[in-house]
C-alpha cells in the first residue's frame, strides 16, 4: 500500500466512521480493512517525515495515565539516534527524556520512514518529532487555557503538567482526549528559542550504553524466545555456484537436528542447540556438491574491467569551457571493493504463527521495505508479515542484515510454529554481504597564471551504490530459491545527494568544469550502500588533486582551499581544523607529514575538515596516523558528544579502509573470508589522539553526522603520506607494499 493510499484511507476512517483512533497501530489496523476514499487536493508540505505521516498521533501518544510514547520509523544502529530523538521530543514537550518511551522501527507500530541511512535520521525523523512535539504541547496548552479560562500565554508547562499562575494545574494525561492528537500537523510550529533549550544541545548520556556494558539484552543476537530453534545456512562457495546434489542424511542424523531445509540453491539446517547447528551445518556443507563457474573480474586488472563494464554516462555537473594549460594535473585513482565488516555477523529471528502471520526480528535498516521484500519472496500479503527492528552489531550501510532476515523468514515457513534464529558465520558475512563498489576516478585539472583552478574534468566509473530491498530480488534467499527472484536492474539516476557520484562535484569555486558518472549496470560482485557511498572515493580523489594543484601553485594547501571556497560555513570548518591542528606550526619531523581533507557531505549536508599528522616507516612501508584534528558543522546540535563519537568513529573507520582494506577474489571465489585475509585497523596502529571540534549553529536545520568524515579522512591520510615521502599514492588501500615501492624500497 502506498503512503498516499494509506494516508487517504486513514482519513477515511475518521471521516467515515468517526471511530476513536487512539494510536497509530490501531489506525493502521483499521486502515487495512477499509477501501481507499477519493484522493484529496495535494496537501501542503510539512517538516521532515511529517510530510509522509501527517497525523500528530503517528508520532506522539499521550495516555490518560500521563505516559508519553514517541514513535520513530528510524532505527538505532549504534549511532545514538535513540538518545538524540528522545532529547528532541523531551525538549519540545517540556518533559524529561526519561518520561518518554521511544518506539523505534516496527511495521506494526511506527511510521514508515524508509531506511535509516544517508545520515538523514535527524533531518527526517528528528525534524518531524520536534515539530510534532511542539504542536502537541501547543494543543495541550490551548486545552488548558480553555479549561482554566485564561490565555495560553498565562500558562506554563513542566513535568508533564500545565500550570496556571494561580496554582491550578492539570497533567498532560488529564488534558488529552482521545481525538485531540489525531489531527494533521501544521506546516509551522512554534519551536523553542535556541536560548531556551534545556535538553537539546547537551551531551545526554546514551540510553543504550548501560545495558551494552553489563550484558543486558541489547541486540537481536541476544533474543531468546520460548521454544526457539537455531538455524545456519550453507551458502554457496562462490557467487555463481549451483547446488547439484546434497546428501542430507548425515546432517539429519546428528544430535539435536530438527530439519534440513533445501529450496533450490538455498540450504539450511535447524537444530535445538546452537553448537549442534554449527556442527550440522559443517557436515551438510561437506556433503553438498556445487557446480562453480568463473563469474568474477580479473582483480589484477580492475581499472580496465570497470571501464569495460561502462554502459551509460550521466552528467553530474557542467559549467564553462574546459581547457588545458601548462600547469596541468592528470591522474587516475582507484578504490577497491570494501566490506562493511560488522564485528557481529548478521542475525535474525523469525516465527511463522498458527494464524498464518510471520514475525521477523531484524537489524535491517528499513523495516517496511524489508517487509515488502520478504512478503514478495514468500508470496504472502504484506500485512501478514510483521518486521520489528532490533539492534545489530554496527551497520555502516546495507550489510547482511536483510539477507539473514530473509533466511530466517524462509526457514520459518518450512519449520512453522517455533521461532527460528539464524546467525551468519564470519566467512559468510565476509563473502556474501554486499560490498562497497570498486571505483575508478580520473581527473584532469589545470591552473591559470594566477594560480587558480582554470579547468576541471572529472570522470568516475562506478556501479550503483544501492541495491537495497525494494523487491525480493535484493534478498539472497530469494535469489537462491528454486523459483528465484532476480535483482532489479539498476538505473543511472543523477540526484542532488548523489550515489556513485556522491560528492563527485567539488564544492570549490571552479568556473569551467565537467563531472561525469560512467555508469556500470552489471555487478560482477554483489554491491550496495557502504557508509558515504561514492563520497568516500570521490572526496579522496578530489582532495588529493587539490593538494597537487596547491603544490603546483606553490600555495599552502589550506590557503589554496580557502582561495577557492566561497561558502562561509565551509571556510569556518577549514579554518577551525587548521587552527586547532596548528597547521602553521613548525615543520614536521623526518618521515612525518601533514595532510588536510575537506568536504561538505553530499554537497548539502554536514561540513567536515580534518588535518592529520601521518608517520611513514620507510623500510616497512607501515603508515600510522599520529593525530587527527577535525572540525564539523552539522547544523543545530542535539547531542554534542554523540556528534563527537560518530565523527571519531568515522575518522578511524576511514583510516582503516584507506590503509588496509580491499576485498580479494579470484575468477571464481571471494578469497577475503575472515579477518586475516581481510585485515582492518588494530589498536597498535590507532592514533595517539583524535579531536573533534564542533561549530554550533543554533536554530539551523539538522544536517546529520554519521558519514561526513569518510571522504575527508581518506584524503588527509593520502595528503599526509604525500607530504611525508614526497610521492603520491593513487590506489587505495595504501598497503605496506605500495608505500614501500613508492619510497623506492620495492
Amino acid at each position: 500500500m502506498s503512503i498516499l493510499q494509506e494516508e487517504v484511507t486513514r482519513r477515511g476512517v475518521i471521516a467515515g466512521t468517526g471511530a476513536l483512533v487512539v494510536s497509530f497501530s490501531l489506525a493502521r489496523a483499521f486502515a487495512q480493512d477499509l477501501p481507499p476514499a477519493t484522493p484529496l487536493t495535494p496537501p501542503v508540505t510539512l517538516p521532515g517525515s511529517l510530510d509522509d505521516e501527517r497525523f500528530l498521533d503517528s508520532w506522539i501518544r499521550i495516555d490518560a495515565d500521563n505516559s508519553i510514547t514517541v514513535f520513530t520509523g528510524k532505527a538505532e544502529l549504534g549511532q545514538g539516534i535513540r538518545t538524540a530523538l528522545l532529547q528532541v521530543a523531551a525538549e519540545e514537550l517540556d518533559v524529561k527524556p526519561e518520561d518518554i518511551v521511544l518506539v523505534t522501527a516496527d511495521t506494526g507500530r511506527t511510521p514508515n520512514e524508509g531506511f535509516t541511512a544517508g545520515s538523514q535520521s535527524m533531518q527526517n525523523s528528528g525534524t518531524a518529532i520536534r515539530n510534532a512535539a511542539a504542536q502537541v504541547r501547543a494543543l495541550l496548552l490551548s486545552e488548558a487555557a480553555k479549561r482554566f479560562a485564561v490565555a495560553p500565554a498565562e500558562l506554563k508547562s513542566e513535568n508533564r503538567t500545565v500550570l496556571a499562575k494561580d496554582g491550578r494545574s492539570l497533567t498532560y494525561g488529564e488534558l488529552v482526549s482521545e481525538l485531540m492528537l489525531h489531527v494533521e500537523a501544521q506546516p509551522q510550529s512554534t519551536l523553542k528559542d535556541p536560548g531556551a533549550l534545556r535538553v537539546m544541545g547537551k551531551s545526554l548520556p546514551r540510553v543504550d550504553i548501560p545495558a551494552k556494558v553489563t550484558g543486558g539484552q541489547a541486540y537481536v543476537h541476544d533474543l531468546r524466545l520460548d521454544g526457539m530453534l537455531h538455524a545456519r545456512v550453507v551458502l554457496p562457495p562462490s557467487p555463481a555456484a549451483e547446488l547439484s546434489e546434497v546428501d542430507a542424511s548425515a546432517a539429519e542424523a546428528m544430535p539435536g537436528v530438527v530439519s534440513v531445509v533445501r529450496d533450490g540453491n538455498f540450504l539450511a539446517v535447524v537444530a535445538e542447540k546452537e553448537f549442534q547447528t554449527v556442527n550440522a551445518m559443517r557436515t551438510l556443507a561437506a556433503t553438498a556438491r556445487w557446480q562453480e563457474r568463473e563469474s568474477l573480474p580479473d582483480q589484477t586488472d580492475l581499472p580496465a574491467e570497470l571501464q569495460r563494464l561502462e554502459r551509460e554516462v550521466g552528467t553530474v555537473a557542467e559549467a564553462g569551457v574546459l581547457s588545458s594549460g601548462d600547469n596541468q594535473f592528470e591522474a587516475t585513482f582507484m578504490r577497491p571493493y570494501q566490506i562493511h565488516g560488522s564485528i557481529g555477523p548478521s542475525c535474525a529471528v523469525a516465527q511463522m504463527k498458527a494464524d498464518g502471520s510471520l514475525d521477523v526480528w531484524s537489524h535491517t535498516q528499513g523495516v517496511y521495505p524489508d517487509r515488502a521484500a520478504i512478503a514478495e519472496m514468500l508470496a504472502m500479503p504484506e500485512e501478514k508479515v510483521h518486521v520489528i527492528h532490533m539492534e545489530g552489531s554496527g551497520c555502516y550501510g546495507h550489510n547482511g542484515a536483510d539477507d539473514a532476515a530473509a533466511d530466517a523468514a524462509l526457514i520459518a515457513t518450512k519449520v512453522p510454529g517455533r521461532p527460528i534464529r539464524v546467525q551468519w558465520m564470519r566467512e559468510q558475512e565476509h563473502s556474501w554481504e554486499p560490498y562497497g563498489p570498486a571505483m575508478l576516478m580520473k581527473v584532469n585539472a589545470s591552473l591559470d597564471r594566477a594560480g587558480r583552478i582554470a579547468s576541471w574534468a572529472y570522470d568516475v566509473w562506478s556501479n550503483t551504490h544501492s541495491t537495497r530491498p525494494g523487491g525480493a530480488g535484493a534478498l539472497l534467499a530469494a535469489r537462491h530459491k528454486s523459483q528465484p527472484f532476480q535483482p532489479k536492474p539498476p538505473e543511472l539516476n543523477i540526484t542532488p545527494s548523489g550515489n556513485g557520484d556522491r560528492n563527485a562535484n567539488p564544492l570549490y569555486a571552479i568556473a569551467n568544469k565537467r563531472v561525469l558518472w560512467h555508469f556500470l549496470p552489471d555487478m560482477p560482485l554483489r554491491v550496495s550502500a557502504l557508509r558515504a557511498l561514492g563520497a568516500y572515493a570521490n572526496v579522496f580523489a578530489i582532495e588529493s588533486t587539490i593538494d597537487e594543484l596547491a603544490l603546483m601553485a606553490a600555495v599552502d594547501p589550506v590557503e589554496f582551499r580557502l582561495h577557492h571556497m566561497e561558502d562561509p560555513r565551509a571556510r569556518a570548518v577549514i579554518e577551525l581544523a587548521a587552527e586547532r591542528f596548528g597547521w602553521n606550526g613548525p615543520q614536521m619531523p623526518k618521515n612525518r607529514g601533514r595532510g588536510f581533507g575537506f568536504a561538505r557531505y553530499k554537497n548539502l549536508a554536514a561540513y567536515l575538515a580534518v588535518a592529520m599528522e601521518v608517520e611513514v616507516e620507510r623500510e616497512t612501508g607501515r603508515v600510522r596516523v599520529v593525530r587527527a584534528v577535525s572540525a564539523i558543522d552539522s547544523g543545530e546540535i542535539v547531542n554534542p558528544d554523540g556528534i563527537r563519537n560518530q565523527t571519531e568513529g568515522g575518522i578511524l573507520q576511514s583510516i582503516s579502509w584507506t590503509l588496509y582494506e580491499a576485498v580479494a577474489f579470484d575468477r571464481t571465489r571471494i578469497t577475503s573470508t575472515d579477518w586475516s585475509s581481510y585485515p582492518i585497523l588494530r589498536f597498535a596502529s590507532v592514533p595517539d589522539s583524535v579531536e573533534v571540534h564542533i561549530i554550533e549553529r543554533p536554530g539551523e536545520p539538522f544536517l546529520g553526522t554519521g558519514e561526513a568524515a569518510q571522504g575527508p579522512a581518506a584524503a588527509a591520510v593520502a595528503n599526509g603520506i604525500r607530504n611525508a615521502i614526497g610521492k603520491r599514492l593513487y590506489d587505495l588501500p595504501f598497503t605496506r607494499d605500495r608505500v614501500r615501492s613508492a619510497v623506492g624500497h620495492a
Binding site: V213, F275, V278, S393, G394, E648, W675, P687
Partner: protein, 166 residues
C-alpha cells in the same frame, strides 16, 4: 558428559558435547549475553572472557578443558544498577558506538588491570591486540580503560575516601 565450572561466582554442571566451545555454553546453556560471537576463529576478541584471571577467547576453548575453572564474563563485573569500575568508566566516557565489541574489550582490560593496576599506554594497546572494533571507538576504549584503572586505584586507597570512587 558433565563438566563443572564456576561462572561469575556460581557453579554450574554443564551437560554438553565436550567439544562445545565455551562461548556457546555461556550464551546457549547459561543464557548470558556478554560474550559475543564475532568470528569463531580466534581473530576478533568479541568472545573474550576471563578464565582464572587470564583473558581467553571463549570461541576457541572447548568446554572439556574447563573442569573446575572459574570463568568471569562482563555480567560478573557489576550490574546495570551497581556497575563495577570498568563498567562505570565505559559509561562515563560513553565508550561505545554499536557496543558489540565492548564486552570483549572490557574482559581483556579486566585481565590486564588485575595484573597491573597502572598499565602504560603500550600495555593497554598490547592487551587489546586481538580485539577488533569496527565502529572506530578505539580512542574512547583506551580512555575508558585508563579511567577504570583510576577508579580502581581510588577505590583501593586507604583513608577517608575508602570505598568511594572517582
Amino acid at each position: 558428559m558433565t563438566i563443572s565450572l564456576t561462572v561469575n561466582g556460581s557453579s554450574h554442571a554443564i551437560d554438553a558435547d565436550p567439544a562445545t566451545p565455551l562461548l556457546y555454553v555461556l550464551r546457549d546453556d547459561l543464557g548470558l549475553n556478554g560474550a559475543k560471537y564475532g568470528c569463531g576463529l580466534g581473530q576478533c576478541g568479541s568472545c573474550t572472557v576471563v578464565v582464572d584471571g587470564e583473558a581467553v577467547l571463549s570461541c576457541m576453548v572447548p568446554i572439556m578443558l574447563l573442569e573446575g575453572r572459574e570463568v568471569t564474563t562482563v555480567e560478573g563485573l557489576g550490574t546495570i544498577d551497581e556497575p563495577g569500575p570498568l563498567q562505570q568508566a565505559f559509561i562515563e566516557l560513553q565508550a561505545a558506538q554499536c557496543g558489540y565489541c565492548i564486552p570483549g574489550m572490557m574482559m581483556s582490560a579486566h585481565a590486564l588491570l588485575r595484573r597491573k593496576a597502572q598499565p602504560s599506554e603500550e600495555e593497554i594497546r598490547e592487551a587489546l591486540t586481538t580485539n577488533l572494533c569496527r565502529c572506530g571507538t578505539h580512542m574512547r576504549i583506551l580512555a575508558a580503560i585508563r579511567r577504570a584503572g583510576e577508579l580502581m586505584r581510588a577505590a583501593s586507597l586507604p583513608g577517608p575516601d575508602e570505598g568511594r570512587t572517582g
